[in-house]
């Protein structure tokens, strides 16, 4: 167990993942402009910003999910374990295997709870004890006590919050290095949201977490670092300010950041 490392973005240590001069385009349209970001390992970093500023696009660039959009392409580098994941010889399947993702809307497979957790492990060649893995993953996702008696029930039969935790369990079952979360609580009620936030806090001990959120309180409550993105006049997203969450929320360096977090635009 590695203790929580509260290092600052200026830390020169090894970053979990790093974006260098990233530009992302959809056809001719530039959606993300010149983003440079370094993420601390085993910390929670929140990406905030107004609607359409490209924070989800940035997040999806970290495990090459943007590849699925045929017209999208990018410039720049994303360095992970000393290598640009967009290099020609890197297999996106391998990237996604190590950098997992939890989506905005809970999307469990139409399978049993047990199979939901195990499927990713199975296709990735998991050789250990399946039952143990399922239990361990569900426990880490704080879902075990609720579902241990109905593991063979459909994952779709769970409530929205439970489904999202099942998706998290499924993601951690393949033991990724990094977990990307795209507004994971935005489709949930406040109580479920709170549970997810607590869960994310727990997961920080083992995983590097990048979370996109619309919810300012959530970012303030749940993250160690915060990156604020905004849209310029061409509607391209750019990084405005990045720092420790406390600092961003109490003493923002940029006027825009201050306006945004105090709710004067967004």
């Amino acid at each position: 167990m590695i203790a929580n490392n509260k290092s600052t973005p200026t830390n020169n240590g090894r970053y979990a993942i790093e974006a260098k001069n990233v530009n992302i385009y959809y056809g001719d349209f530039r959606a993300v402009k010149e983003v440079n970001l370094q993420f601390e390992p085993r910390a929670i970093t929140a990406l905030i910003g107004p609607s359409g500023c490209g924070k989800s696009t940035v997040l999806r660039a970290f495990n090459r999910m943007n590849d699925l959009v045929p017209i999208s392409w990018m410039e720049g580098e994303i360095m992970f374990q000393g290598k640009n994941i967009y290099d020609a010889d890197v297999d996106p399947v391998r990237v996604r295997r190590q950098i997992g993702m939890v989506f905005q809307k809970p999307n469990p497979f139409p399978k049993s709870i047990y199979d939901n957790v195990l499927w990713g492990a199975k296709i990735n060649g998991f050789k250990g004890n399946a039952d143990e893995l399922v239990e361990q993953s569900l426990r880490q996702a704080a879902l075990w006590d609720e579902v241990k008696d109905k593991l063979q029930d459909s994952g779709l039969a769970l409530s929205g919050g439970q489904q999202q935790r099942l998706c998290i369990a499924r993601t951690i079952a393949v033991k990724p290095e990094i977990i990307l979360m795209d507004e994971p609580a935005s489709a949930l009620d406040p109580i479920s949201t709170l549970r997810i936030e607590e869960l994310i806090q727990d997961l920080k001990r083992n995983y590097t977490i990048l979370i996109v959120t619309h919810n300012m309180q959530q970012a303030a409550r749940a993250s160690d670092f915060t990156a604020f993105l905004n849209m310029d006049e061409d509607r391209a997203g750019y990084l405005v300010e990045y720092g420790e969450t406390d600092q961003i929320f109490t003493n923002p360096q940029d006027e825009l950041t201050e306006q945004y977090i105090t709710g004067r635009f967004g």
Binding site: G100, P108, F109, V174
Partner: protein, 738 residues
């Protein structure tokens, strides 16, 4: 009311409700229109179904060259006569005497003869029912037949001596019938018969004095009733009748033939040991002779053993059968009986009593006779040449020959191209039964009627048949029956079936499915999951597929003819696989060509429906899978396809239903319209149900439309079964998907 600014732009007060009502009304008009459309659609479908059902059932005037029950009777009598220790005699006295002398003997004859020899014999009860006046009259005792005399009101009125005789007959029936040894009809029945006669008489009847009458009275018919009527005639003459009573024995059927079918007749009274049939009745009526039925009594057979026999007093119907055939010892019939041989004394072959016994006790259908007997019946009714030809087509027994001698057979089979019979397995029960039907029974449907007239004008139809076809029988025919489904096509409608077409349809549809389902789903996966829609090439392909779904099916027929039948002939005829038997090549007009053509026809529909279903799989599922590190193929195979499958299956069901009903392309591809042998594989010639139906409906005779109606029902049934299975599978699958 709060005065909202701008509210005056809307209707106010009463007008609000009026305006809302008007909007409701528009909706209601549409609702009624849609409902009318639904009702019309349902009515159309019901009319269609009723029309098909109307054609598939109905009355038939059937005439057999040899009635099947005669064949069965001959066979059963043969079994009786060839049983061990059997003695036959026409003389009932002899039989009674012999049984009376032998404790191990059994036999049967009229109850009268038992009564006359009661001290030496014992009558057995059957299933616990003893023959006596009560059980015989109410039908509890099985071995009985009713006795009647028939005459008409006209004869009674125009010939007073006949009226006098009939009245005398009824007055004295109890005594005479009993005297002869039959069971007289009950008092109530006799009184009813007297009333019938009195009603028919213009004079109203009254007491009869035979001495007042003279002239000739002719009675004809059953030899069973004969003793009663003759005894009655003697009494009548003894009581003073001045004329003659002639009583002839020509059998019940012969009596009715003379009485009902002849243009003129001198028969006044018919003696009958069964009720008049509807056809005979109608034939009589058509000659203005409406028969009056007068029940005079009941005849019963007694199954007897020696009076000293102490081990048997009751037999069941099954034991009764075993008692007279095949078994040798009493113990073989019932283990409680001694192991002594049964000695049987039964009436001889020509006796009506034997016929009656066999008809009642051994009531079997022709198709249920043993294989050997059917072969024997067939051999007895066809020429040696025909027999040889049938044997060369297919043998009757694996080890012995029926028509051909061994030397000729070996010679024929040693030829360069031996007939099929040399190698094919022997015929089976159903096959030989159909041969017997076709060659011996030779049923002929002289005329057929649809269901509606059969129900509403039954009497008229029966009368028409009685007038037009004296030897025909009116039967209710369900055109869908086991024989229709299992028989091959034939130009004789009576024995034609649709097995060939059913098998053809199943083969073709199987090939169609195997060809178009994997190809169609594969193409859809490529187009949806892999193809780059921004590329012009893929757009052109997509447009083409959409257009192909609308191309008329005959065009596919032309395509199939050009490509599969002509161009790929070596492949589709099976030549390259060495599957062509010499002399029977189908030249590419095979099941394979037909299946591939129909496969092409429905391919676009399958592709499009599969594409729709794949597109309907939520993207979030694909992302979830890919986000876990699954490859594209793993995502498609594990998530996209299972989720799209119910939709894909729906499209496939619809297109298969279309394929199974297609006629036009198969006509072009060269389906055979007349073919009597089953398809044996993808390289066989074939026909399919729709083509068979089309061919039958095109014939001028109504009987083929009956066959077509039945075939349509079979096709619909096949279609519904196929769809139901597919829907069941689909639902089970959807459920499993959660």
């Amino acid at each position: 009311m709060i005065d909202q600014p701008g509210a005056d732009l809307y209707p106010q007060g009463e007008a609000i409700q009026a305006q809302i009502k008007k909007r409701h009304r528009t909706g209601r008009i549409w609702r009624y229109l849609f409902f009318t459309a639904l009702v019309l659609a349902i009515i159309t479908l019901i009319v269609l179904m009723l029309n098909i059902i109307n054609q598939s059932f109905g009355l038939v005037a059937e005439q057999n060259a040899v009635p099947p029950n005669m064949l069965v009777r001959d066979y059963q009598e043969g079994r009786l006569l060839s049983a061990s220790n059997v003695v036959t005699s026409e003389d009932d006295f002899y039989l009674a005497e012999e049984i009376g002398a032998d404790p191990q003997a059994t036999g049967f004859f009229g109850y009268a003869f038992f009564k006359n020899n009661e001290e030496q014999l014992k009558a057995l009860t059957i299933d616990g029912v003893a023959p006596n006046a009560e059980t015989v009259n109410n039908g509890e005792y099985p071995l009985t037949r009713p006795l009647y005399i028939y005459t008409t009101a006209d004869i009674l009125n125009s010939k007073p001596e006949v009226a006098a005789f009939v009245q005398y007959y009824l007055d004295n029936a109890p005594a005479v019938v009993k005297g002869v040894g039959y069971f007289p009809a009950g008092t109530e029945e006799l009184n009813a018969a007297k009333a019938t006669v009195a009603n028919a008489l213009e004079s109203g009847g009254g007491t009869v004095n035979p001495a007042d009458h003279a002239g000739t009275i002719v009675a004809s018919g059953s030899s069973t009733v004969w003793p009663v009527t003759s005894a009655m005639s003697i009494w009548f003459e003894e009581d003073g009748f001045a004329g003659d009573v002639i009583v002839e024995r020509v059998g019940t059927t012969g009596g009715f033939q003379d009485f009902c079918y002849a243009a003129t007749t001198d028969v006044d009274i018919v003696n009958a040991s069964r009720p008049i049939s509807q056809l005979e009745f109608e034939a009589c009526r058509s000659h203005d002779r409406e028969p009056l039925e007068i029940r005079i009594g009941t005849d019963a057979l007694a199954v007897v053993v020696n009076h000293e026999n102490d081990f048997v007093s009751d037999v069941s119907q099954a034991e009764l059968q075993n008692l007279f055939v095949e078994t040798e010892n009493w113990s073989a019939v019932n283990s409680a009986w001694p192991a002594a041989p049964i000695r049987r004394f039964i009436p001889s072959e020509d006796s009506g009593t034997l016929d009656f016994f066999v008809d009642t006790v051994f009531d079997t259908n022709l198709e249920d006779l043993p294989y050997d007997s059917l072969v024997e019946i067939l051999a007895g009714g066809i020429s040696l040449n025909v027999g040889r030809r049938l044997e060369r087509e297919q043998r009757f027994y694996a080890d012995t020959l029926v028509f051909e001698d061994q030397a000729t057979w070996d010679e024929v089979c040693a030829e360069a191209e031996p007939p099929a019979g040399c190698t094919a397995p022997p015929r089976d029960q159903n096959n030989v039964f159909l041969l017997v039907q076709e060659r011996i029974v030779q049923p002929q449907f002289l005329e057929t009627w649809y269901l509606w007239p059969s129900l509403t004008q039954r009497d008229e139809i029966v009368r028409t048949v009685a007038e037009k076809y004296p030897n025909a029988e009116v039967i209710f025919q369900s055109w869908i029956n086991g024989q229709f489904i299992t028989s091959p096509q034939s130009s004789t409608p009576e024995i034609a079936g649709i097995r060939t077409a059913i098998l053809g349809s199943l083969w073709v549809i199987a090939i169609t499915f195997l060809f178009s389902f994997p190809l169609g789903v594969g193409a859809a996966i490529y187009l949806e999951e892999y193809a780059d829609h921004t590329k012009r090439f893929n757009q052109i392909i997509q447009t083409n597929i959409n257009n192909l779904a609308g191309v008329p099916s005959i065009i596919y027929g032309m395509l199939g003819l050009a490509v599969f039948v002509r161009l790929l002939e070596p492949l589709t005829s099976g030549a390259v696989f060495g599957a062509v038997e010499s002399g029977v090549t189908a030249n590419g007009r095979t099941i394979l060509s037909a299946g591939l053509t129909l496969g092409l026809l429905i391919l676009p529909i399958i592709i499009i429906s599969a594409q729709e279903s794949i597109r309907a799989v939520p993207g979030s599922l694909r992302q979830a899978s890919l986000g876990l590190g699954a490859t594209k193929w793993q995502t498609i195979w594990n998530h996209v396809l299972p989720n799209a499958l119910p939709g894909i299956l729906t499209g496939t069901i619809l297109s298969m239903s279309r394929a199974i009903g297609e006629t036009a392309p198969l006509v072009v591809v060269g389906a055979s319209t007349f073919i009597t042998f089953d398809p044996t594989g993808p390289f066989s010639k074939f026909t399919v149900l729709p083509i068979q139906i089309y061919q039958w409906t095109a014939r001028p005779q109504q009987i083929f439309r009956n066959l077509a109606g039945a075939a349509i029902i079979v096709l619909l049934f096949l279609l519904l079964t196929m769809n139901a299975t597919a829907i069941y599978l689909r639902n089970r699958f959807s459920k499993r998907m959660g």
